[in-house]
Every structure is written in structure tokens, then in C-alpha cells.
């Protein structure tokens, strides 16, 4: 097979195309807060969110802090007739692995720990240089990883899992929430806010253009 190449490929920035129905139309000029929707199938193409990089970075930094808290502390303590058992997020992964179910252990590890962490780190790697007007190697590839990771970071689904687990255990034992549970609840809010503030379209434009000459 022939290798993929950049050569002989020209940008056509005057156009946008719908990723769901392939409709081609001229690049719309959007004001802050406006969305471009496909007139044929209704897909949201992009949105001028108009938040500054600082805003997204502040949210990402908070998320990172909460992520560390959520992963290094006890999630829940269970008390059955005086016997206390505590668990962290990682202990579920370890226990599944010990029971011989490495497939689920890997799956749970990737979607609750690895993907969310990588997402936050990717944001720093791409946004900090854009903010300070310098370039890090492979920033474009890193941002591609970020986009691919999106469906695999399932922190909010895990939160519901915690809720269901608590209800299932409540007749059996007394459940005590650990620091990690509060941190995790806050983490899903901050990660959602980070995602909502990031304007991928704008970031790709900035990554694709040469460095500005700032005094």
C-alpha cells in the first residue's frame, strides 16, 4: 500500500462540509456564542464559543487537581457488623484483575482513569504553548489523540455506577463516603465545563497557522 502523504493536498478554508451528510457550503462568519448548523441534516458543525484559553486552562487545572484527589483517596468505606472494608477507584480494577477478569479490568481502567487523565494532560500540552505563543513538538498529533479519546472518557457514567452500587449495598451494610467520592463528583462537573469551554475549531485554526509575531 502506498503511504499517506501531505504532498499535493491543498487546504480549502473557504468551504466547510457537514460530517454527517457531506453538504458543502461556504465558511460562515460566526459571532461569539453562535453555532453553525447543517441546513440539510441539522448537525452542529462548530460553535464560536468565545472563551479565552485562560478560562479553559483554569478549568483543566482544577480538573487535574480533583482527578489526583479522586484517585489517591478512599472512594467509600463499607461497614458490615463492625468489619470495615474500604475501596478506591483503582481497587476495583485490581480486584477484577486478581479474579482473572483482565479484560474488564483493562476496560474499566482505560475509561475511568487513563482516558480522563490523558484528556486533561493533552489540554495542557496543546493550550499552554498556544497561550504563551510557542510550539511544542507533535502538538497537532496530541490534539488528535484528545479528539479520539472523547467517547472513551466515561467519568460521568462511573458516577452513576457508584450511585447504583451504594443503593445495592445499603441493606447489607453502612456506607461511608470518602474524600475521593466528593472529589470525583466535582471532577465530572469540572471536566464537563472544560469540554464545554474548549473550542476545537478555534484551536485547530490556531494550530494550523504560523506563530504570531508578538512584541
Amino acid at each position: 500500500m502506498q503511504p499517506h502523504t501531505h504532498q499535493g493536498v491543498d487546504k480549502a478554508t473557504e468551504f466547510v462540509a457537514c460530517h454527517d451528510c457531506d453538504l458543502l457550503f461556504p465558511q460562515p462568519r460566526l459571532n461569539k456564542g453562535e453555532k453553525a448548523r447543517c441546513p440539510r441534516c441539522g448537525a452542529t458543525l462548530f460553535e464560536r464559543k468565545g472563551h479565552s484559553l485562560d478560562y479553559s486552562l483554569a478549568l483543566a487545572l482544577t480538573s487535574l487537581f480533583l482527578f489526583v484527589l479522586a484517585n489517591l483517596n478512599t472512594l467509600m468505606r463499607m461497614n458490615i457488623g463492625g468489619r470495615v472494608q474500604s475501596g478506591a477507584i483503582i481497587s476495583g480494577v485490581r480486584e477484577l484483575y486478581d479474579q482473572g477478569y483482565w479484560e474488564i479490568a483493562v476496560l474499566v481502567f482505560v475509561v475511568t482513569i487513563l482516558a480522563p487523565l490523558l484528556k486533561i494532560l493533552c489540554i495542557f500540552y496543546v493550550l499552554v504553548p498556544l497561550k504563551l505563543n510557542f510550539r511544542l513538538p507533535k502538538a497537532v498529533q496530541v490534539f488528535r489523540v484528545f479528539e479520539t479519546l472523547h467517547p472513551w472518557a466515561m467519568t460521568e457514567v462511573y458516577m452513576l455506577g457508584i450511585l447504583v452500587a451504594i443503593v445495592k449495598l445499603k441493606d447489607l451494610a453502612t456506607i461511608e463516603a470518602g474524600i475521593a467520592l466528593y472529589a470525583f463528583a466535582a471532577l465530572i462537573l469540572f471536566m464537563a465545563a472544560t469540554d464545554a469551554s474548549l473550542d476545537d475549531h478555534e484551536i485547530w485554526e490556531q494550530l494550523g497557522s504560523p506563530l504570531e509575531d508578538k512584541p
Binding site: 491543498d10 487546504k11 462540509a17 460530517h19 454527517d20 458543502l24 476495583g92 474488564i104 466515561m154
Partner: protein, 208 residues
């Protein structure tokens, strides 16, 4: 007859699936000039890949529901739980809002996802021209809802970590959980490999 709208494919433009840049290529096997991702007019082998993944998910769906996802052992007595019996247990415990949520996430979503993917594949295969807009919306819904089926897997992960009190009470994962995780992952990949633009291509050929 009304003229068909311009599409990127018809005009010879390529849309990058990662960074959404539109470009024009004069060479085979082009890469996006902005982000470097391989460019294709349509996702490669979209139908074949989506069929393969969807059929795999159908096959996995059987053991996912028949085999126990976990076994609760209390004072020496073990009781295997399947996906469905887990919902029933919540319902009997009077937790119907939560039972409804788990029923929706673990039973409705995977079944609906499999049926919708099969329908979309068949409709594209038979070049259906019926309600492309609604079918596209159906696709978007399928793509975004799949992750919620993971709830049950997470519940198992949390329960096995907390309930390991030796002879008093233990919870062990079961082989059904592996199959169920497989269903969720394969249907997510299936939704990703399906190209909704194929729905619209059937309309395109009419006008030629």
C-alpha cells in the same frame, strides 16, 4: 426536478474527520494538510466493518444476558446474578427509579443500538431514500447514547472491590460481564465505523 445540493464528494473536496478541514487532493492516499490524519471520501470499508462489529455484538449479546455477571456469596451461599436479575432485585427492593435507569442503560440501550445499527446498515445497503434526515438523527443518537451501558460494568467493579469480607460476604465478577463489556465496546466501534454520509449518497445517485 430540483437540482441536488452540492456535496463535498461531488465537487472533489475531502473533509478531515479529525479537525474538520476541507481540502482538495490531487494524489492517492492523501493526508490532512493541517492535522495529518488520513483523508477519505467516505470512511474506509464502512459497511463491511460496521456489519462485522454489529454481528459480533449480536453474538456476544447472548452470553452477556445468559451468563452471570457477578456472584454474591453470603455466609457460604452463592447467588449468581445476571443483568436482568440485577434489575429485578433493584425493583423488588423498591428502588424503581434506579431500576428503571439500570433497565434503560443495560437492556434498552444495547438492544436499541443493535437494532438501529442493523436498520441503518440495511437501509444504506438497499439504497433507501426514505427520511434521510431522521435516519441521520437516529445515527447521532445511537452514537452518543452507547457509553451509558457501561453503568453495570462499573457497578460490578465497585462491588467486587468493596465486598470482600472472606466467609461473611464476597462478590465475584462473572463471565457474563466480559461478554457485556464486549457488547458495549463493539457497538461503540460499530457506531464509529458507520459513515452517515452513505445515507445521503443514495439521494445523490438519483440526479445523475
Amino acid at each position: 426536478m430540483k437540482t441536488s445540493p452540492e456535496t463535498a464528494a461531488r465537487r472533489g473536496y475531502l473533509l478531515c474527520h479529525t479537525c474538520h478541514l476541507v481540502s482538495r487532493a490531487a494524489v492517492p492516499h492523501p493526508c490532512c494538510p493541517r492535522c495529518g490524519a488520513p483523508l477519505h471520501v467516505r470512511k474506509p470499508d464502512s459497511l463491511v466493518r460496521t456489519w462485522a462489529l454489529t454481528l459480533t455484538a449480536y453474538i456476544l449479546y447472548v452470553p452477556a444476558n445468559l451468563l452471570p455477571v457477578m456472584t454474591v456469596t453470603m455466609s457460604g451461599r452463592g447467588e449468581p446474578d445476571t443483568i436482568l436479575s440485577g434489575v429485578k432485585e433493584l425493583l423488588l427492593g423498591g428502588m424503581w427509579p434506579l431500576a428503571l435507569l439500570v433497565f434503560f442503560a443495560s437492556i434498552t440501550v444495547p438492544v436499541l443500538k443493535l437494532l438501529v445499527l442493523t436498520y441503518l446498515l440495511l437501509s444504506v445497503q438497499f439504497k433507501s431514500r426514505w427520511r434521510p434526515r431522521e435516519r441521520t438523527i437516529l445515527y447521532r443518537l445511537t452514537e452518543s447514547i452507547g457509553r451509558w451501558s457501561m453503568i453495570d460494568i462499573f457497578v460490578i467493579a465497585i462491588l467486587v472491590a468493596l465486598v470482600k469480607l472472606g466467609s461473611l460476604a464476597t462478590i465475584d465478577a462473572g463471565p457474563g460481564a466480559v461478554a457485556f463489556g464486549g457488547v458495549v465496546v463493539t457497538t461503540m466501534f460499530a457506531a464509529m465505523s458507520f459513515d452517515p454520509r452513505l445515507i445521503w449518497d443514495a439521494l445523490e445517485n438519483d440526479h445523475e
